[in-house]
Amino acid sequence: MVSLIDVNRDDMKTTNQTEQSKVRTTLYLTPENKQGLDRIPRGQKTALMNRAIANALKELDKKENAKQFIEMINQIKPVKMDLSSEEIIRHLRADKEIPSTDLQDNNE
């Protein structure tokens, strides 16, 4: 795991010589991660660290979104239909018209 402790803006060139905005920072690594990173060839470490951080942040976002989704489903007030969802799907898949219950609130 890595932790961000200080951030100073600085423009640098990427290892493949394309212009890209970067930020110079200091990271405290665990001995295991430092050892693992030492095996990576020079010039590829930054890309690897960025990929790892991006993936970790993406996972955090997904967890937060899942929390919000659970909140949403717990707030749902389900509505009654004349048919069960299995029967409705069977109608749809057989290309039959679905008998509608009451559409007045459908486009709120």
Binding site: P78, S84, I88, S100
Partner: protein, 144 residues
């Protein structure tokens, strides 16, 4: 895991197994389990919503929120379609053959070596020989 559109739709439909679905999807979300569905899922769920008094925009918001977490809507690849065709061909003249729609979900589960959860007992009766399918009422067994 692959979820049938009839299962997801129970989130906004008042049915005896509504709470069962809330618990299943909560469990999937808390365990960070990826849920795969074929693209027709979106049209089926929204079609059900359109025929119900539940606001269709809210259902779409629900789907997009789930997509930002664990739901992935996928296009079927060639092998999955071939598997679906295979499932469709497996039936009986009297009891009927699985529909291509049902088979699409089921084939997606087989292709990804995961379970297809459906509330449709007829499909399970027709296609359980292919494995990778479970009834909504049995979802807890899938986790054990």
């Amino acid at each position: 895991m692959v979820l049938d559109s009839c299962v997801f739709s129970k989130l906004f439909l008042q049915e005896p197994d509504h709470q069962e679905v809330v618990e299943l999807i909560t469990e999937l979300s808390q365990r960070n389990i990826k849920v795969l569905v074929p693209s027709l899922f979106l049209y089926e769920v929204l079609s059900i919503a359109a025929a119900s008094p539940f606001p269709i925009k809210n259902v779409y918001a629900l789907i997009t929120q789930y997509q930002s977490a664990n739901l992935e809507i996928v296009e079927l690849d060639k092998n999955t379609i071939l598997k679906a065709i295979d499932i469709c061909a497996h039936g009986h003249k009297k009891s009927g053959f699985p529909s291509f729609y049902d088979a699409s979900y089921h084939a997606l589960a087989i292709s990804n070596a995961c379970q297809f959860i459906t509330a449709d007992k007829r499909h399970v009766a027709k296609a359980s020989i292919f494995g990778y399918v479970a009834l909504l009422s049995d979802w807890r067994k899938v986790f054990n």
